[in-house]
Structure formats: structure tokens, C-alpha cells
Symmetry: C2
Subunit: 132 residues, 2 copies
């Protein structure tokens, strides 16, 4: 089905588990939406398909972001850092919410004094989106 | 010297190595400047001092960001993600450049076709800043 040459990932340093952290950032306003991990295969699929594909460390399988919720991430740009061990992907987040909790960003808890405060409201109801 | 109660870090999930990744983002324009790791001590020092303190995985010691270059990071806000296993810190980057290469951001290489292109110029000369 796919006879293309796999993307050249020279320079990317995958860790001992074969993973590299990828920070997903809104391509328009720069909001950091989430951070997840990619292995060589998921990074290759991300580059080939133009949609973010991660490696789920908990489920130990490819995680085609949005496959359940429909909230896919269209890749607008990809960056590697000075050491090649971290990626930033600028994305268009379909459905606006990147987080499985329904929040736009996974980083919806801000340090407030000695504790944390929730700084946003969910954009969708997770129980309605993720069916068991 | 320090008789304060250590900061309450309940909810933060440090990994098997006792580390949590921390994404440093410019507090004004949202540029992702770098990603580094914090252990419990460095996160505590970050909260207490208002300056980013990381744990250097390569040097295996506390890394008071800017201690050599002077380019400290003043913490403006701190966020944890839905799982508590990743942090975002919004910072004011003194000296503008966060990267040891002299670039403002460590993410100065953008995917371009099958390769990578450098998208910024160094703001300082690393050899002049970091003396051996």
C-alpha cells in the first residue's frame, strides 16, 4: 500500500525506550496543547500523513490522535531541538480540544499559591466522546 | 538557612528516575524556548526562588539555568498537565536566548522536505559565554 521511502529521521535521538517527547503547540496562538511521545514509526507516520501520530506508553501501541474523538491534529510545522531529543509540532487542532478531559490544553491547572487552580472549562464531555 | 516549609508538590508524577519534563515557554509571545527536566528538589527551588532550576541529566546535578551565561529564567506561571507528568513554565528569559547554542529557542531547526533548515540566528557566541 505504501511504496514510499521512509522519511529520513537522521539527527533525532530516540531514548532508551525508542521514544522522543513531542510538544504539540497551536499553530496560530502558540498555546501548548499537550505533550506526548513518538517512536520512529509514529514520527514517520506523522510526517507521511500530516496528522499527529503518537506512541501511547500506557497502551503500548500507536496512538493516532483523534481516532476516537475525531479531534485530529493537522501538522503545520515540525521542529527538533538543539540536542535532537525533543520535538515541537505546530498543529491545527480539529475540534479545538486536545485533552482527553475535554479541555483545550492538557495544561489547564495553574500553580496558585501552594496549590493549583483550574483555568479553563472543558469544551466537550469526555463521557459522551469516549465510549467504552 | 531555609526554614520555610517545602512546597506542596502533590499531584506531580515524577517518573522512575524522579524526573518530570518541564517545557519553558516565553510568557509574552508563547514561543517554546526549551524543554528540560526537574526533580523534586529543582521544582521546589524553582517555586521558592522564582527562577527556573532544572536537573541536568547529563551532569547529574542541579542546573540553575543561567548560572554560567547569566540568562536566567524568571518564572511567571507554572502549569501541570492532566496526568501531572509534564509541566509548562511561562518565563521571562533574561538575555533573550534560552539555548546554549546562542539561539533564542532550542527549537531552531524546522523540518523542510526530507531534511531540516535552521530558522534563526544565534543571539550570542557560545564560545565567549561558556568558558571551559
Amino acid at each position: 500500500m505504501n511504496d514510499k521511502t521512509p522519511p529520513d529521521l537522521t539527527g533525532i535521538k530516540f531514548d532508551a525506550d525508542g521514544l522522543v517527547p513531542a510538544i504539540a503547540q497551536d499553530h496560530k496562538d502558540g498555546t501548548v496543547l499537550m505533550m506526548a511521545y513518538m517512536n520512529k514509526e509514529s514520527l514517520g507516520l506523522t510526517l507521511e500523513s500530516g496528522r499527529a501520530v503518537y506512541w501511547s506508553r500506557s497502551r503500548k501501541k500507536l496512538w493516532r490522535k483523534g481516532e476516537e474523538s475525531g479531534n485530529v491534529q493537522l501538522v503545520k510545522a515540525l521542529y527538533q531541538d538543539c540536542d535532537g531529543d525533543t520535538l515541537v509540532i505546530k498543529v491545527e487542532q480539529i475540534g479545538d480540544a486536545a485533552c482527553h478531559t475535554g479541555h483545550r490544553s492538557c495544561f489547564y491547572r495553574e500553580r496558585d499559591g501552594a496549590g493549583w487552580k483550574v483555568i479553563s472549562r472543558p469544551l466537550f464531555d469526555p463521557s459522551a466522546v469516549y465510549k467504552k
